[in-house]
Amino acid sequence: MSEVILKVNDLKTYFNTDDGIVKAVDGVSFELEKGEMLGIVGESGSGKSVTNLSLMKLIPSPPGKIMSGTAMLDGVDIFKMNDNEIRKLRGNRIGMIFQDPMTSLNPFLRISTQMIETIMLHQDKDKSAARARAVEMLEMVGIPNPSKRINDYPHQFSGGMRQRVMIAMALSCDPEILIADEPTSALDVTIQAQIIEVMQELCRKLNTAVIMITHDLGVVAGICDKVCVMYAGRIVEKGSNDEIFKDPKHPYTQGLIKSVPRLDRPSKGRLYSIEGQPPNVIDLPECCPFHPRCEKAMDKCRNTYPPLKVFGKGREVSCWLYEGEK
């Protein structure tokens, strides 16, 4: 284990808009080890999805642009690859599952056509072998009677089943990395539980590393090994699952965990809430973007962005509170 397969360093993705430059992702670094599950949590607009779209070079350009940064996959920088190389990477070495299973499948094509296309494109297989592989994958994700259902169109599947098809498709070429962008947010809880179980089981079996993007802290707590918390385009805190939930250091993480109502802890009365709104990421001044909402804000926070404080391996916090600590 513990072999780093993806190392992202200082990724910056900006969008040019009429109102100014939107710094959607502003200096994000993280490492992904073989076979682990990394959770990226944050609210809407915090840059979770843009980070991962950047890794696949799927940012529409213009207006978007990857300004700087490297993403080393087995010693090769993804951002320096040409279109041809990227095409070989997408779907083959990095698979992706999107939030909305309704829109990410082509409604005009049979599941078989869509799956076989992916497999034939990336692997040296003829049509019947690719079909056999597709059926095998569908069986693995728990679709009943896969050899028949593979000929169905997407609308013949329910939401949960479609998400299973997406997982099967994303994993059909044995990718090293699976990026799951809010894979269960559009699903009901009972279906969510099914999908998470399938994902967890399969990725463990195939030893695929997963980047799980979500806003649901409960999902992260259940399955991830490591967690990155994002706010306004930057990672404010990083750590193992236990560290983040038991000993959150950044005031934003603390607030986020406290403001979720919990089923196991009936709390009548007021919920903890972080006042104010997430900031607009256009022309953000050089300050801690969380300071207007932070209870522990100091003068320093209003003027300079806090440096990264490292507390041992993989445990990092960006907050002035911990400046002096060892």
């Binding site: 089943m161 279906i191 806003h215 992260v220 707590a221 965990i257 009365g269 919920l271 709104q277």
Partner: protein
């Protein structure tokens, strides 16, 4: 009817017809969105309604407000059956029932200013001479309401697109309050919001309830939210209510197998608890409500089904205290 009961729903049914044919439309079936539910909402309480998508939660709220004409049953609001009410009776009853919608983007008219949106219900009732209020009073009430929901009154000339999602939801709340309603039907009011904004709105609703003595029917699919805000919780499945209980009781002792599975599927943000939890994973999806059922509605997915469940429909049965459950196991 007991004094403390504000709204009674009796055997409410909403069957949407499925039609076929181009010129001669023929009814070939029905989507049984709600298939016979009974509910009592007491004054001052928050009744949470929870269930998966398609189980009929929103349709229930819409039938109570008579936005859909129910195909059967009664909705008694302060003793009056709204299903049989005439136009003007309904209009005056609706003054006491207001709604908050899920999507703060779609539920506000983009061409109206925030102030006009909040004033609109009062303006409508004023024009019909059902509300004695001057234009000046409306303006001051709008400003008042905006402050109450945590918006600056200087924002009243702004348009919805100038507000964030959380702020828009506050406008929706202010609009619902403008007629001093007794009952608010909140249809997934926090589902579209981020966690940190969600808790702000939940606190706001809680404060307003105390201040204006409001009664809520609160619909959500998130059990943790429901449990936090509700006094009592009703669990729906496929157009039927399967269990009603107080919020604490329901979590401590869920009786219906569906409630149990639902509870165990909700992720809890604590890695220790998550690692040691035993999940009940239901197989399959929610079936389509397009056919008449003669057995338990949950039969197809129930892990504890029995022979009896196939052929007869369990009715809600009162257990200890206020706990009611519709299951043959009990």
């Amino acid at each position: 009817m007991a004094d403390n009961i504000l709204l009674q729903v009796r055997n409410l049914k909403m069957h949407f017809p499925i039609e076929e044919g181009i010129l001669l439309r023929k009814k070939v079936g029905a989507i049984r969105a709600i298939d016979g539910i009974d509910l009592d909402i007491e004054k001052g309480e928050t009744l949470g309604l929870v269930g998966e998508s398609g189980c009929g939660k929103s349709t229930t709220a819409r039938c109570i407000a008579q936005l859909h004409k129910p195909t059967g049953g009664e909705v008694l609001f302060q003793g009056k059956d709204l299903c049989k009410a005439t136009g003007s009776e309904l209009l005056s009853a609706r003054m006491g029932i207001q709604m908050i919608f899920q999507d703060p983007y779609a539920s506000l008219n983009p061409r109206m200013t925030a102030g006009n949106i909040i004033a609109e219900p009062m303006v409508i009732y004023r024009e019909r001479k059902m509300l004695d209020i001057s234009k000046k009073e409306i303006t001051s009430r709008v400003e008042d309401l905006m402050e109450k929901v945590g918006l600056s009154k200087h924002f009243k000339n702004r348009y919805p697109h100038e507000f964030s999602g959380g702020q828009r939801q506050r406008i929706g709340v202010a609009r619902a309050l403008s007629l001093n309603p007794k009952l608010i039907l909140a249809d997934e009011p926090v589902s579209a919001l981020d966690v940190s904004i969600q808790s702000q709105i939940l606190n706001l609703l809680d404060d307003l309830q105390k201040e204006f003595d409001l009664t809520f029917l609160f619909i959500a699919h998130d059990l943790a939210v429901i449990q936090h805000i509700s006094t009592r919780v009703a669990v729906m499945y496929l157009g039927r209510i399967v269990e009603i209980s107080t919020a604490e009781e329901l979590y401590k002792k869920p009786l219906h197998p569906y409630t149990e599975a639902l509870m165990s599927a909700v992720p809890i943000p604590d890695p220790d608890i998550e690692r040691n939890r035993k999940r009940i994973i239901l197989t399959g999806d929610v079936p389509s409500p397009d056919k008449e059922r003669f057995g338990c509605y949950f039969y197809d997915r129930c892990p504890k089904r029995m022979e009896k469940c196939k052929s007869s429909i369990p009715q809600l049965k009162v257990m200890e205290g206020k706990h009611q459950v519709a299951c043959f196991l009990h």
